[in-house]
């Protein structure tokens, strides 16, 4: 009996470093399907922009903490992204990722009537993380997110859109498909499975 010779090649660096998710109308339900599929001890940080009526104090982090096995919190400026934490953009601020692995906030004008805007988050993820970013665009009635998803794709990152046929509101993922921003168009369950599977890619 022989055992396989240990490979001397160094372990390749983990391909992905961050998952960014955008959702609008119907997003709470969609996230409620995808996020609980992520395994405990997930090793990527997950950053979510969900459009909500402005001015409501955001309870997202709390709402999802009961449904998800991972830690959830609202992102703070200059906070360092940690693996296995799900971050939500604070209401009335754009959330951006810096190349040094921290968050930045901005109060610049809304984009597609939204602040936080998915395009702003995704654009900064494409810029800061390039091919190490995974972008996911879910249900919504907005134009926000499609261009940002395209930016991630063009930077070499992985991009997924929810199957518009399945989405509660198809406009947002359909816009991404139309733009050619999504490498894969999948139902929610498969998106969850894909994200969970990134875990093994070490």
């Amino acid at each position: 009996m022989t055992t396989a010779a240990p490979t001397s090649a160094p372990r390749p660096a983990r391909r992905f470093a961050v998952v960014v998710i955008g959702a609008s109308a119907g997003g709470i339900e969609a996230l409620g399907t995808v996020l609980p599929m992520l395994p405990k001890h997930y090793t990527l940080p997950v950053v979510v922009v969900l459009h909500l009526p402005a001015d409501e104090p955001s309870l997202l982090a709390e709402v999802f903490s009961y449904k998800v096995g991972l830690a959830t919190k609202e992102a703070d400026e200059k906070e360092r992204l940690q693996p296995g934490v799900i971050y939500f953009a604070p209401p009335s601020y754009h959330l951006l990722l810096e190349a040094d692995g921290t968050f930045a906030l901005s109060t610049e004008e809304p984009v597609h009537f939204s602040r936080p805007s998915i395009d702003v988050l995704f654009g900064s993820a494409a810029d800061a993380y390039g091919e190490r970013a995974v972008g996911v665009l879910l249900t919504g009635a907005s134009q926000d997110g499609a261009r940002g998803l395209l930016a991630i794709r063009e930077a070499g990152g992985q991009t997924l859109a929810q199957d518009p046929a399945e989405a509660m509101i198809s406009i947002m993922p359909a816009a991404a498909v139309e733009l050619g921003a999504a490498r894969a168009v999948l139902p929610l369950k498969d998106i969850g499975r894909f994200l969970a599977g990134l875990e093994k890619e070490a």
Binding site: D76, E77, K78, P90, S92, Y93, L96, L97, E98, A99, A104, L105, S106, T107, E108, E109, V120, G123, S124, A126, D127, A128, G130, A151, E154, A155, G156
Partner: protein, 274 residues
């Protein structure tokens, strides 16, 4: 392939350096992600292919620089933004301010003036405006001019009115402006005791002792070193037990000055000098 043109990073540094050398505006310690977005947007607005081309324009044309400054400074504001902040000021800060015979309040990074008028209205309703001097400072001269004019679009007034009510307003917001030509002209008695001034938290020093500093949604654009510089100015300017109010997502807690301030209303980011 990258989101931004080749050499973007290098050229932004050169642009920022050029602006500093030529116009003495110091953006060297601003958060990169936001700066990159603004410069990318400026490229579109100016029709420039590269940041170097933009740099050449602004170096040789002060008007072009002024246009760029509008993009870089993010002059976005509203009255009584985060109403609970102003409510907390009424409840927890005003009672202390009352004990002083005269008051100095510094609104740092006042942008187009919305925060200044909000503060003036609040102080007026609490009977303190008469004995207060307000310093309203910013690095953007066009924003300061707009602040001094005090004219806002009628569109924005509905939001301002809602915020005013949630902020514990005691009258009708319409008592404080005259409606004209799709705009609201703020009552000029509100700015009677306001001094508008060009002042940079990045390059200037303290100009007066104050009892209360309100600096909101400015520090989020600074790196930690520059945030510390700004906190240093506030600390130096504030009298003993003076108050510091910050934006909803800002805190002194992680700064070099953490130990020198204590929270008064943590959720509303109101601190007090120890």
């Amino acid at each position: 392939m990258s989101l931004y043109p080749e050499n973007f990073q290098i050229e932004i540094r050169l642009l920022i350096e050029a602006i500093y050398l030529k116009y003495n505006h110091d953006f060297r310690n601003y958060s990169p992600a936001s700066l990159r977005r603004r410069v990318a947007y400026a490229l579109q607005q100016f029709g420039c292919q590269t940041v170097s081309a933009l740099q050449e324009k602004v170096l040789h044309d002060p008007d072009a620089f002024m246009r760029l400054l509008q993009i870089l400074t993010i002059p976005v504001s509203e009255m009584f933004r985060d109403p609970t902040y102003f409510l907390a000021l009424r409840q927890h800060v005003v009672p202390m301010l009352r004990t002083y015979p005269s008051l100095k309040v510094w609104i740092a990074g006042c942008s187009t003036g919305e925060e200044v008028y909000s503060m003036a209205i609040l102080l007026h309703e609490e009977g303190l405006l008469e004995r207060t001097i307000l310093y309203a400072t910013d690095i953007n001269p066009q924003s300061l001019e707009k602040a001094e004019r005090g004219i806002y679009s009628a569109d924005s007034v509905r939001k301002f009115t809602q915020n005013y009510q949630k902020a514990g307003g005691k009258r009708a917001f319409s008592d404080y402006y005259t409606a004209a030509y799709n705009s609201a002209i703020m009552d000029k008695s509100l700015r009677q005791n306001v001094t508008f001034a060009d002042h940079s938290l990045a390059t200037d020093s303290v100009f007066s002792e104050t009892h209360f500093v309100s600096c909101r949604n400015v520090l989020i654009y600074f790196d930690r070193a520059l945030q510390d510089r700004a906190f240093g100015l506030f600390h130096e300017s504030l009298c003993r037990r003076g108050f510091l109010g910050l934006g909803a997502k800002e805190t002194v807690q992680f700064s070099a000055y953490a130990e020198l301030f204590e929270p008064v209303v943590r959720e509303d980011r109101i601190f007090r000098k120890k």
